[in-house]
């Protein structure tokens, strides 16, 4: 598993992926590899805990757009929590918040997704 992925766990049939470090193309691909494998296994809800990711680039975030697209095919959902303000702003500018949800906490995210 990539060092960018700090942990994965499941709660309420939601796959929760905790990241650590720079969300660049490699980080994005590490997330997508887990999501696509889990989608094949029948899971359709994902949360990304980004507490450890203070820096992103648009290439890494673009891979999240690819995951959103893939999830639309299976009526799935993805959300994020513990975002640094600049990460949340970047998601907003790129429009991710139109197709996925930013939550404040894991508790809120697990309850709402």
């Amino acid at each position: 598993m990539s060092s960018f992925i700090k942990s994965t766990k499941e709660a309420n049939q939601i796959v929760i992926i905790e990241t650590d470090g720079y969300l660049n193309n490699e980080g994005g691909e590490a997330i997508s590899a887990i999501c696509y494998e889990k989608i094949k296994g029948g899971q359709h809800k994902f949360l990304i805990n980004m507490a450890g990711t203070k820096v992103v680039n648009s290439i890494g975030v673009s891979i999240l757009i690819e995951i959103i697209e893939k999830l639309q095919e299976v009526d799935g959902k993805i959300g994020y929590y513990n975002l640094a303000p600049i990460v949340a702003k970047t998601f907003n500018i790129m429009g991710l918040t139109k197709y996925s949800t930013v939550f404040a906490t894991e508790e809120e995210a697990v309850g709402a997704l």
Binding site: Y22, N24, V55, V56, N57, S58, I59, V61, S62, I63, I65, E66, I68, E69, Q72, A84, P85, I86, K89, T90, I93, M94, G95, L96, K98, Y99
Partner: protein, 138 residues
Amino acid sequence: MKKPSVELKLPILPNMELIATQTAEVIARHMNLTDDQSGEISMALIEACINAFEHSKTDSNVFIHFLIEEDSLVMKVIDQGIGFDKTKVEIPKIENKIGKEERKRGWGLQLIQELMDSVEFESNSDGTTVTMKKNIKH
């Protein structure tokens, strides 16, 4: 008195943009910028560096100049690549990317323009200079 400046020379190697952001963070602290301002400067810098690395189509180094002014921070990202025509760069919209064949990337210029107070592009066949300015509200 000459305004303080910092200059970096970055080779085109993976993740070298993070050297630029680390420098920007030090400068932001020196200028007493807020965390939000610092984050916006770093994000814009990352995108400008990635554009220079990916699109300049050269092995030459990328130069970054930070110009510390009383009421603003000016950052110049300079490459010696083939240049580009900004008028041919489409404004990306996620609606045009989701569920479509269009590639998901191509957000760099949009992010830079949203995050900075002013952005200027000078580009020709000898290279591109992106000049980004953040006004400082103390």
